[in-house]
């Protein structure tokens, strides 16, 4: 084959260019520690990374929702605890009041029941971050309160049966509240608030509570215990799902790292190798290109 001077020049130039192009790519990868800097670096790899990162972002959002829900649930549990304590106190009082030795102290018992009633009312109106815990989904105003003449307790909002649903994973939408309806039933005079008012007023009038009255309080106490248990279950579920999602995030982050991260040691070695090739090309071109027969004539 006839070798012209232009061929030699073109070959050297082409080899220098390709070495430099490889070095440029390696340098970008090492500097950014990311081998996926554009979709064309690996179209399928980039799609995978976007999908994984989207899932991580979604999972972090679920974690945020779970943490908010846990705070809401813990506040609800604390509110229910107050209510349960007062219900227990009332039951103790109702048992003691039956004893004939307390016949002279009915007013004192009435006061104690009035105090418990107000604590339960306070807990029923408990608020967390602008949301009433036991008002369903109506956060417009305090849900429970006295009537204008202070003779009874009434609902101040239209409906307290709304469920607060929160998305805690792709497939789970969790109800995180105990609705007012579930906890207190209908506020229609037969409810716990108005029953306690009736018992209080009767005591003040020297009338002891009937067994039926005691049963209403017992049933309420049992219901509160059940709701506490429900909240405990929701809390456990939230913790469990949070744990699962955190594990998912770890797995996804590993997958993203596998797709994106550069094997720095290998890249640096390759970079050095290319640098060596580049220097060799320069050396060869400086040795061979300037020579011709003219140098020897």
């Amino acid at each position: 084959m006839r070798i012209s001077d232009l061929m030699l020049q073109n070959n050297f130039l082409s080899s220098l260019n390709s070495t430099k192009a490889r070095m440029e790519k390696l340098q970008t990868q090492v500097a950014s520690n990311n081998k996926l800097n554009a979709p064309s670096d690996s179209p399928t790899g980039v799609a995978k990374v976007m999908r994984f990162e989207n899932s991580i972002s979604q999972a972090n959002n679920f974690i945020g929702n779970i943490q908010y829900s846990l705070a809401f649930v813990n506040e609800s549990i604390s509110g229910l605890d107050f209510i349960q304590n007062e219900a227990t106190k009332i039951l103790v009082n109702l048992t003691q009041v039956k004893n004939a030795v307390n016949n002279e102290n009915l007013d004192t018992f009435a006061d104690q029941i009035d105090s418990s009633l107000n604590i339960i009312l306070e807990a029923a109106n408990k608020e967390f971050n602008g949301q009433y815990l036991f008002a369903g989904t109506d956060d417009s105003t305090m849900p429970y309160g006295y009537t204008a003449d202070q003779s009874a307790i009434e609902l101040k909002v239209g409906d307290v049966s709304g469920e607060r649903n929160v998305k805690i994973s792709k497939n789970i939408t969790q109800k995180i509240n105990i609705t007012g309806s579930e906890l207190f039933g209908s506020i229609d005079g037969t409810d716990i608030f108005n029953k306690l008012i009736e018992i209080r007023d009767n005591l003040r009038n020297g009338v002891k509570p009937s067994d039926a009255d005691v049963k209403v309080v017992e049933d309420f106490s049992k219901n509160v215990l059940n709701k506490l248990s429900d909240m405990g279950n929701i809390s456990n579920k939230l913790y469990d799902v949070e744990e699962v999602i955190k594990n998912q995030i770890l797995t996804l982050e590993n997958l993203v790292a596998k797709e994106k991260e550069v094997d720095v040691a290998a890249a640096v070695m390759e970079l050095q190798n290319q640098d060596y090739i580049l220097q060799l090309s320069y050396k060869m071109s400086s040795m061979i290109l300037p020579r011709s027969l003219l140098d020897y004539l």
């Binding site: 084959m1 061929m7 064309s40 670096d41 980039v46 972002s57 989904t137 417009s140 709304g162 998305k167």
Partner: protein, 452 residues
């Protein structure tokens, strides 16, 4: 046989080798000229003479000066030039398109779309929260800005292509005029029996440059002139050249002849790449992006319109997006003015966020061509990435072929200084020997004269 014949043969020899040296020195002078094709002095023995019954040799003569060119390699280079420049221009343009997406990064639509949906999920935890309502609006605004920026970038790229397309057509017209002029000169020089080698080099250089711009077919006529057609439309010969202009109809760019309006079938060269990206690729990408964003608007509004606002009394039938018009994703003015107009309550109570959950669930809903919006967007990004990657690989592959062909051409046609120097030595020695012969013939004549 007269001694004077020695003078004749030597004189002819000296002239011939001097001319051969001229050719060699022309080659050496052009050793650094990439477009030059080396020339060779073709020497042969002069016609013999018959005298006194004997045939006598008459020395050497130069037949012609040959331009060393391999026509097969040349036509392959023209053809590969077209595909190389097509792929290279496509790769550059697709690189521009690709960079508008900012993927994979936090600034890309993938992340912003995810954040938009996540903001609804967050809002569902506390629908009365003004801050969380604000988050939904900010996330939507960020998404809308990125969508607008991509669409604006697409428009800018198309506008740049449009301008470049016009410039390149002017470039084609200039080349065609020059080729026609040189064609004519080649014919004229050839007609009076002169050598047009250097004009042929200039003409071939122009043809090579033209093949970078458009897909051409070249025919060489017997008088060494070239007839060229571009994409099936006559472009130039020695008699005339066609003037082309740009045509932009129905979103398509094309190249047509000024007279007659013949449309050039552009399928390679830089102009082929420009029209392909302008008329096919970018509209295809825009359609895909439009489908994703259009469906987002329809689906979010479809749910949002059933929700109740935070007003007292709660209102319904509000759209979240006012539309996706001319590449702009617009959030409803009422919502921008009053975040309480975000309607996520399913039953009218202000703490209900059921519709926010439904909107969040659109993230995983297969609502576009049997896929999620996210997956459709990923496939859109992958397509651009694959197109760019294919163009890069094609550039590399056609670059290798072109470089091999150019090496073949360089091997055949380019100057080797070593080879030329050997010719110089060869011709110089022959020239010196002929001169010596004249000296000897002169001495022989002197001897004869002195005898008398």
């Amino acid at each position: 046989m007269a001694i004077s014949r020695l003078f004749d043969i030597s004189r002819r020899s000296m002239i011939t080798y001097q001319r051969a040296m001229d050719v060699t020195s022309h080659n050496i002078a052009n050793a650094g000229n990439e477009d030059y094709s080396r020339q060779r002095a073709n020497l042969s023995t002069e016609l013999t003479e018959k005298f006194a019954g004997i045939t006598w040799g008459a020395g050497i003569k130069m037949d012609d000066i040959e331009r060393i060119r391999n026509s097969l390699t040349e036509s392959q280079i023209i053809s590969n030039n077209q595909s190389y420049s097509f792929n290279e221009r496509q790769a550059v343009l697709l690189g521009g398109v690709e960079s508008t997406l900012s993927e994979p990064s936090e600034l890309g639509i993938s992340n912003l779309l995810g954040k938009f949906f996540n903001s609804w999920s967050e809002l569902s935890t506390n629908p009365t929260s003004s801050a969380l309502r604000g988050n939904v609006i900010y996330a939507a605004q960020n998404l809308a800005e990125k969508v607008k920026s991509i669409n604006d970038d697409f428009t800018t790229i198309k506008s740049n292509i449009y301008n470049e397309f016009g410039d390149k057509i002017r470039d084609v017209n200039n080349h065609l005029q020059e080729i026609q002029s040189i064609n004519r000169q080649i014919a004229e020089v050839g007609a009076i029996g002169n050598n047009a080698n250097d004009l042929l080099d200039v003409r071939d250089k122009l043809i090579n440059e033209l093949s970078n711009l458009v897909n051409i077919t070249v025919h060489y006529d017997s008088d060494n002139t070239a007839s060229i057609s571009i994409g099936g439309v006559f472009a130039v010969n020695s008699a005339s050249s066609t003037e082309f202009e740009m045509n932009h109809t129905d979103g398509n760019l094309s190249m047509v002849s000024k007279t007659g309006g013949n449309v050039v079938a552009l399928n390679s060269g830089e102009l082929g790449a420009l029209t392909n990206i302008f008329s096919n690729k970018i509209p295809e990408y825009q359609n895909k992006l439009d489908a994703v964003i259009g469906q987002l608007v329809t689906s979010v509004n479809g749910i949002h319109t059933n929700g109740f606002t935070l007003d007292d009394p709660p209102q319904t039938a509000y759209d979240f997006f006012s539309g996706y018009i001319n590449g702009e994703l617009k959030i409803a003015d009422e919502i921008l003015a009053d975040r309480n107009k975000i309607a996520v309550s399913g039953d009218g109570t202000n703490g209900n966020g059921d519709l926010a959950i439904q909107i969040f669930e659109l993230n995983d809903a297969k609502i576009l061509n049997g896929s999620t919006l996210r997956d459709e967007y990923f496939s859109f990004v992958s397509q651009i990435g694959s197109d760019k990657q294919n163009a890069d690989r094609s550039v590399e592959a056609s670059g290798i072929v072109l470089s091999q062909l150019e090496n073949q051409r360089a091997s055949f046609s380019a100057v080797s200084v070593d080879e030329e120097m050997l010719d110089v030595i060869r011709f110089q020695k022959a020239y010196s020997a002929s001169a010596k012969l004249i000296q000897m013939a002169n001495e022989m004549l002197d001897t004869l004269i002195n005898i008398v």
